[in-house]
């Protein structure tokens, strides 16, 4: 297509008064008309309304537009809508460009409308120069294997597997232990109902007897290959290598409790961890009268900044259980902040108080000290150190990420956060998704979660996975990297740099090739290629430099 053929339409949005109340919209519309290749420019009260959208469609036809620019809000929220509007009018959706003059202009320069308008002019001009270089791109179609793999057979993994299996999908559940159940196996009772953990563990029977679930116990994951719709997981079980295929993967590997070794003179006898207390309570072996629990041991500090989420409720549960068995027992909880959010948990906390469990706050800079016969703790309200006699001290240890999470994350090509828990794509909007398509997370693998949270998350992950494996074909993003084989010398720098292993060597031509289904279009390879042989579609160097030049040059 020659330069003369480029016909750009610019639609400037008032967004009611959101933009129109600050920036001079008519000036922007007129200015747009002066820019190269712009053949049509108009303003809309709300471009995203049905009226605005049909105006885009009509003008694409009437003015034979082959590029569309909307200057309005953020592409992060509205680009999909405008793209599909363009597509409805027969225009390739990648020939659409969005200019953000609301979130990053009128809303942040409310007191400087003139300067804001000048900024919007620059931004629109940059958009116009980029738009002239946009290319049509096609989304790829890939087939889907209609089954899922769930990694981890704790309560989250078991529930996710059951959810999908009950929807009639084939599920492969991979567990590294010889038994299902995860941490739940070590628990006595569960809050807030105080029912036996074994009741919830009955899920195991459902999983083991489900026709649609293939169970792989004592299995180690060796390798994960493939991409959304077509994953291949290679496992080692009983010295045998097995290959499992699936369209989606759910990560439910859970977490483990931090070892109490080295904290507060832990000795495993008079000073034990909360998890060990569960075991003692299970066997009904508690025979002491003075019990004190210490919260936030080894977490919410410099080394481990996070709150482990489950320890407050766990301490309350065990304190209540002890009090129920022996109302004369003195049970104290030395805490930093008690976190019992919501209706039920707060009620549980009140119950503990009413039962006479004593709550003593400590300051992180003045932690309790365990002496031979008593615990000394500074109390801020009394401004003095108080001594508490004890027979048993219980340390509330946080849940920490499994050691193998790093290895698994590498194989899955998904990120971990700083504490090595799995990091979701978006904390609010995509809480169980990974940025990598087709892989989902639930339960304590994501961060410490209790049973009800694990179950909600596993249902969410299963439902997200089913949106993939219920389809016969999938569409994947068209804006990916492409190698110019004339320039590529096969140095393989990009192969090592690609976070998704989307690039491989073609031994025949001695150049590299990008797997467009795996590529996420991040562009790191393009910015790194020693020979400039990689084009990042939709964010090409030419397009970006055009934006830079027109911004710099346009006074």
């Amino acid at each position: 297509m020659s330069d003369d053929d480029i016909r750009i339409g610019v639609f400037v949005c008032h967004c009611g008064t959101n933009i129109g109340g600050v920036l001079d919209i008519s000036e922007l519309t007129e200015y747009s008309k002066t820019l190269p290749n712009v053949v049509y420019s108009a303003d809309n009260l709300y471009t995203c309304s049905e009226v605005g959208l049909s105006e885009i469609r009509e003008n694409i036809k009437e003015h034979d537009l082959n590029r569309v620019i909307v200057a309005s809000c953020s592409p992060r929220t509205h680009e999909p809508l405008f793209r599909s509007t363009c597509q409805e009018a027969g225009l390739n959706p990648y020939l659409f460009e969005m200019v953000n003059i609301r979130d990053q202009d009128s809303w942040v320069h409310m007191k400087e409308p003139e300067k804001g308008t000048e900024k919007a002019k620059d931004l629109i001009r940059m958009g116009v120069y980029k738009a002239a270089l946009l290319e049509s791109l096609e989304k790829m179609q890939v087939g889907v294997i209609p089954s899922a793999i769930v990694i981890g057979g704790g309560i989250a993994g078991m529930n996710a597997a059951l959810n999908l299996a009950n929807q009639n999908f084939k599920v492969s559940l991979i567990e590294k232990d010889s038994e299902l159940g995860g941490l739940l196996r070590h628990l006595n009772k569960v809050y807030p109902t105080n029912e036996d953990a074994s009741i919830i563990l009955e899920t195991r029977n459902l999983v083991e007897n489900h026709k649609k679930i293939d169970l792989y116990k004592s299995a180690v994951i060796e390798k994960i290959e493939g991409y959304v719709g077509n994953f291949k997981v290679i496992i080692l079980q009983n010295k045998k290598t097995l290959e499992i295929e699936a369209g989606a993967i759910i990560v439910a590997t859970g977490a483990k409790a931090l070892s109490p070794e080295g904290y507060y003179n832990y000795n495993g006898k008079t000073i034990i961890s909360q998890l060990e207390l569960e075991g003692i309570l299970k066997e009904n072996k508690i025979n002491t009268n003075n019990i004190t629990m210490i919260q936030c041991v080894g977490c919410r500090n410099e080394e481990r900044k996070y709150c482990s989420n489950i320890c407050c409720m766990t301490a309350l549960k065990n304190a209540i259980l002890i009090k129920e068995q022996n109302p004369d027992a003195n049970v104290n909880i030395i805490f930093r902040d008690i976190q019992t959010q919501g209706v039920t948990y707060e009620e549980y906390y009140r119950r503990a108080r009413e039962m006479g469990i004593l709550f003593i706050k400590y300051l992180p800079e003045k932690p309790p000290i365990i002496k031979k016969d008593r615990i000394e703790v500074y109390n801020e309200f009394m401004n003095q150190v108080i001594g508490i006699p004890y027979d048993l001290v219980v340390l509330s240890m946080p849940l920490i990420a499994n050691e193998d999470s790093e290895q698994l994350a590498k194989m899955l090509k998904v990120p971990l956060e700083e504490n090595n828990f799995f990091l979701e794509a978006h904390v609010k909007l995509r809480p169980v998704d990974f940025a990598t398509d087709g892989i989902f997370v639930c339960g304590s693998a994501h961060w410490p979660a209790d049973i009800s949270e694990s179950i909600s998350q596993s249902n969410a992950a299963a439902s997200r996975a089913s949106t993939i494996i219920s389809k016969e074909m999938l569409e994947v993003e068209g804006s990916t990297a492409e190698v110019n084989t004339d320039l590529c010398v096969g140095c393989e720098a990009c192969i090592k740099i690609c976070p998704y292993s989307a690039i491989s060597k073609d031994e025949e031509t001695d150049t590299v090739v990008v797997n467009k289904v795996v590529c996420k279009g991040c562009g790191v390879c393009g910015a790194s290629c020693p020979h400039n042989a990689i084009t990042i579609h939709h964010f090409t160097s030419d397009q970006i430099i055009a934006e830079i030049v027109t911004y710099g040059g346009g006074e």
Binding site: K111, K119, L123, V427, A527, I548
Partner: protein, 256 residues
């Protein structure tokens, strides 16, 4: 009149661009000087883009990505960090490194984004307009920036940066890990060499010159100049022009 700097911001789609949107949603006001180019990942920002920005009269460039460890693309921001370190080394040779800043803004940090923009705008305001805009020194500055761009486009330098993480953490094909300090030294040398090579090319653009003459003009020892000439010849950028009394003169044979 107060100097209003022209600032360009490269923002990654997932964290910093979302953070900038959040500043808007929260109506946090900040200076109007920055214009944003959205990229999917801060690792997409080719250092050449920034040289290009300076050559086009932009006063300052911000590159913002996700916090380290929070990259949407696993480790793209680590790559961005390596690239910006190399760029900063290169720009410091022509006194421009103060005009680029790499920082991290999460999707939840609208206020932080606004603060970074305000601080950086103020910083550039204090530095004053880019010397590219000063007619007296424009030619020299553009020459310098061209040298920087030449270095940033150099295959060897790009390959070094592209393999930095691999070479300093995983090791090369023989499993040898290069200590970071040693790597930095290699990088520093490579940058310096490319800048000198560009200077040499500039001097012999239209007229063949002998090694001693070039050495005098760019104030570098002749044997060093000769070594660069050999490299440039091997790259096909320089050839022998004439041989006068057994002394060859060299000329640039390709537009760079």
């Amino acid at each position: 009149m107060v100097f209003e700097p022209k600032i360009l911001g490269f923002l990654c789609n997932w964290c910093s661009y979302a953070g900038a949107d959040l500043a808007g949603v929260s109506r946090i006001q900040y200076p109007t000087n920055v214009r944003v180019i959205r990229v999917m990942c801060s690792g997409r920002v080719d250092p050449v883009f920034i040289a290009e920005a300076f050559m086009n009269g932009i006063d300052g460039v911000l590159v913002l990505g996700c916090h380290l460890g929070d990259c949407h693309y696993i480790n793209g921001n680590y790559e961005a960090e390596l690239k910006m370190k190399m760029l900063s080394k290169t720009l410091s040779m022509i006194n421009f490194s103060d005009r680029v800043r790499l920082d991290w803004v999460s999707a939840a940090e609208g206020a932080r984004f606004a603060q970074i923009v305000s601080d950086f705008t103020e910083h550039i305001r204090k530095l004053g307009p880019s010397p590219v805009k000063n007619k007296k020194v424009k030619k020299e500055i553009i020459d310098n920036l061209n040298a920087v761009k030449f270095a940033l486009c150099d295959t060897r330098l790009r390959a070094l940066v592209a393999r930095q993480r691999e070479l300093t953490t995983d090791g090369n094909v023989y499993g040898e890990i290069i200590p970071t300090e040693e790597f930095e030294e290699i990088l520093d040398n490579a940058i310096e060499n490319e800048i000198i090579r560009h200077k040499i090319l500039e001097k012999i653009k239209n007229k063949g010159k002998s090694v001693p003459d070039i050495a005098k003009e760019i104030e570098i020892e002749p044997h060093k100049v000769l070594r660069h000439i050999v490299t440039l010849r091997a790259r096909g950028l320089v050839d022998v022009d004439q041989i006068n009394e057994e002394i060859p003169t060299f000329i640039s044979i390709k537009e760079v």
